[in-house]
């Protein structure tokens, strides 16, 4: 295994034993970025090489002084471009935040820096995390490392692609309706959406506040468990972060499923899920049974309405969250305007891309007098029902097993003209955000060389069980050493 392919836990052991230095690790990743970034396009902003190496040198110096090393000390990491970080511009891949340097750090970023992680840069995404392909970015194209003609998924496509391509060891993304898990599935890496309230949202630029969670990407389950442990925990600066104790997630990783009852909700395998995905999930279920799990089919009858409810609630919250972008205090301001209303209109009109504008309009409409009960109110009722159904199902099962996405990665421009088709690629992930539950996606097979994602959904604040299942499956399926070929772009 090349050094740039080492997982974080292997790097940690190497650093502690003196097998490698943090500088060597950082150089390996920087060299890898130098080789493939022009093909993949995972990053929006990379820190200067000398700054990255200075951080790595500081870790080596600390090791020489005999200081203890945290799990991500000296590990090259990437963050999504919607997490405030003083070392980088934070733009949410939007023109409206051009040149915005936050004066403070997101709590998750602070916690990683507290571990002396080596921050490489921030990654591409759909503008304001609205999208499922990273095509809605004002910052350029990110390509799927398994097939450069296909999308990496979204909205955290840059983070998923960076980890898959070896341009970062681990990365943080954010998941509002599947934005960590779906790109993890498309890029063949592991991605986890924590329970709502598990990870602080402070400093995460809000898309839909009641759904957003920061989540980890890694090339194996152990790295994802460790990274979750590094960023999780109560934060007094986020009133929605829960004071739940953070367990030792790594300790939950045992390679069997004995004694676990799992449900397979049939609504997640309904029409729209491709045959090869269905087949891969069926095979995965067989393997889980071999590993000692008891698996049954079950039903969550309201889930088919989840996508509709989500596309009311998320845009409604977004329409309000995005009201602050008007060019007065930060970000891009339209030039040559003569009054506030014109400045406001033109700054937003020039600054936001079409998908963001569409969702602001959808959300504004859904909250308007006379339509509120019909749309937002109804969607909240559906959400309540979905929460209840998940709660009931999970009282009988330790976790639920579903596909992460209905298909493998699709091609560029394939769904750009049809927003409803694009939205449908979140059909398996959105219900979990509405219910606030944790879910993890990991590779469970390939179709024509493209990875397929398997999703485990757990009880609230029980990430341990889904990590254990993912770990057991990963060890038994042994797909994790398959790496993307990264074919050079055509032309």
């Amino acid at each position: 295994m090349e050094l740039y392919e080492w997982p974080a836990h292997r790097i940690h052991r190497g650093l502690v034993t003196g097998e490698v230095s943090a500088r060597e690790v950082a150089l390996a990743t920087l060299d890898r970025i130098g080789q493939v970034e022009s093909s993949v396009g995972a990053y929006l902003h990379l820190r200067p090489r000398e700054d990255v190496l200075a951080d790595a040198d500081a870790v080596d110096a600390a090791l020489r002084r005999g200081e203890s090393l945290a799990a991500f000390g000296g590990v090259p990491v990437a963050i999504k471009d919607n997490m405030c970080c003083r070392l980088l511009p934070t733009t949410c891949a939007s023109r409206i935040l051009e040149g915005f340097h936050p004066p403070y750090d997101a709590t998750a970023v602070t916690r990683l820096q507290g571990q002396r992680a080596v921050l490489l840069g921030n990654t591409n995404m759909d503008e304001f995390a609205m999208g499922s392909s990273t095509e809605h970015s004002a910052g350029g194209v990110t390509r799927n490392p398994w097939d450069l003609g296909r999308v990496p998924g979204g909205s955290s496509g840059g983070s998923a692609a960076a980890v898959a391509a070896g341009e970062a060891v681990v990365a943080l993304g954010s998941d509002t309706g599947g934005s960590v898990r779906q790109p993890a599935a498309f890029c063949g890496v592991v991605g986890l959406k924590p329970t709502y309230g598990r990870v602080s949202r402070f400093g995460l630029v809000a898309f839909a506040s009641s759904l957003d969670q920061i989540g980890p990407f890694g090339r194996d389950v152990r790295d994802v468990a460790l990274l979750l442990g590094a960023v999780a925990g109560h934060d007094p600066a986020d009133a929605t972060s829960r004071p739940a104790e953070v367990p030792d997630f790594e300790a939950a990783l045992v390679p069997d499923c004995r004694g676990l009852r799992l449900g397979v909700p049939r609504e997640f395998l309904a029409a729209g899920v491709s045959p090869e995905v269905r087949a891969a999930i069926a095979a995965a279920v067989d393997l889980l049974v071999e590993l000692g799990a008891e698996v049954q089919e079950c039903s969550l009858p309201t889930v088919p309405y989840a996508l509709d409810a989500y596309y009311v609630i998320a845009p409604a919250e977004a329409s309000s969250n995005l009201a602050r972008f008007e060019g007065v205090r930060f970000g891009r301001r339209a030039q040559g305007t003569s009054d506030y209303v014109e400045m406001f209109r033109r700054s937003r009109g020039e600054g936001f891309g079409p998908e963001v504008r569409r969702r602001i309009m959808l959300g504004t409409y859904a909250l308007s007098a006379g339509y509120y009960d019909q749309y937002y109110g109804k969607a909240q009722q559906v959400r309540t029902l979905i929460c209840r159904e998940f709660e009931e199902a999970l009282s009988g099962y330790a976790a639920l097993v579903t596909p992460t996405a209905p298909s493998v990665a699709f091609g560029f421009a394939e769904k750009m003209d049809d927003p409803l088709q694009m939205y449908a690629s979140d059909v398996c992930t959105v219900p979990i955000n509405l219910a606030g539950l944790p879910a993890v996606s990991l590779p469970c097979g390939f179709s024509n060389g493209l990875p397929i994602g398997l999703q485990f959904i757990g009880r609230a604040f029980d990430e341990e069980t889904i990590l254990r299942l993912a770990y057991a499956y990963e060890q038994a399926a042994d797909l994790r050493h398959r790496r993307p070929p990264i074919v050079a772009p055509r032309g």
């Binding site: 949410c92 936050p102 403070y104 402070f202 400093g203 329409s319 602050r324 205090r329 909250l367």
Partner: protein, 484 residues
Amino acid sequence: MSVGTVEQRYETVVGLEVHVELATRSKMFCSCPTDFGAPPNTQVCPVCLGLPGALPVPNARAIEYALRAALALGCEIDRECRWDRKNYHYPDLPKGYQITQYARPLARHGTLRYAGGDGERSVRIRRLHMEEDTGKSTHEGMPGGTTGVDLNRAGVPLIEIVSEPDIRGPEDARLYLQSLRTVLLYTRVSDVKMEEGSLRCDANVSLRPVGTQAYGALVEVKNMNSFRSVQRALEYEVHRQAAALDAGERIVRETRHWDEKRGVTFPSRSKEEAHDYRYFPEPDLGPCALTEAYVEQVRASLPEAPGARQARYERLGLPAHDAGVLVADPALALYFDRMLAGGAAPREGASLLTVELLGRLNALGVTVGESGCRVQPEQLAALQELVASGVISGKIAKDVLDEMVAGGADPQAVVARRGLQQISDDGAIVDAVRSAIAVNPQSVADFRAGKKQALGFLVGQVMKATKGKANPAKVNEILARELG
């Protein structure tokens, strides 16, 4: 054509919406200070600037203050009250929405009782909710045609107190506000300075023919910045609407602004009324989740209500007006209570406080409870006791008080040091009386000729000779005997 006065023909129906800034040291959702008058944009942080990714965290002290006010107004408390977003765009509103309480306010169904023009008034409180203040737009000191935004005030905690339409006219509105102010001062939740904007008031006013029940079209009046201007604006509005109704016109539902200088209300641009605020639950904040024990603890900590205090003072023998003067100012009332605890007689003590001490403090530009007031309530009580027990006269007491105000000395010490004890010894007074009679034969003759004021002159001569220390009652008695 119209018979009788406006008041005889129409009943005025007023509801008031009052915004009160809470006197917390930090803002509603961040830890920035709330001091008034700081240079623009110096009391701000990512949260109150509405920077991307910043999140609100409720200020527990602000919730406590709001709860104190709600309990003092006898409201029912919603212990699971929620936060909502009120969405609209304005340059001084950094997030593009205000965090407020819409569907589930902190409190409902309260009552404010106060003395009205003709007997006790009782106005129902519809709701009391918490919210954050906006910033301020300013043109002052800005280059021509540009607008500056000062966000120091953005995020300062407010409560909004909405009355039912139980207020029956302009004067009643002023009395309601004054009474509300007293309650807020007592609960120490706000310093209630209208001129600094810590109390702001909007009025909904309509007229209906006397004897009818249906409400007339509602006109909202804004921009009144003193209790007096509330009364004036409403008086103007009542007459304007009455004149329109008399002329057979319909009153349009609208928002009008009060112009203090011209003394008129005028319609504000209709755009402002077209707002659809798109309220929805604030997803960044959960419900308040106040425990019953906490609410009861706050309730138990409330000071005596103004109405109860007024009644207590009257039971002690104070005239209603004097009691009212004390009750209207919590600092004064608390001072008076300490005087009572220090042994002062209620009626005499109240007069010593409100007439003598306040008169002297006014001249110095300070008031009780401030560091400039060097007379402690216990010391003032002691002074009153010296008079009551005949140690010094009321006149001497004023001299002693001068010295107390200037130097903070104990009255007993001043009296002892300056030998001001009253002379009640008959022998010494008889000597002074005889001497006064001897050197003022003309006055003696005048008195005997029936000029009663001559007696006053002779008393004055005796007091002068005794340096004011003679007991005046004794002097009168002995003079009458010696002249008789």
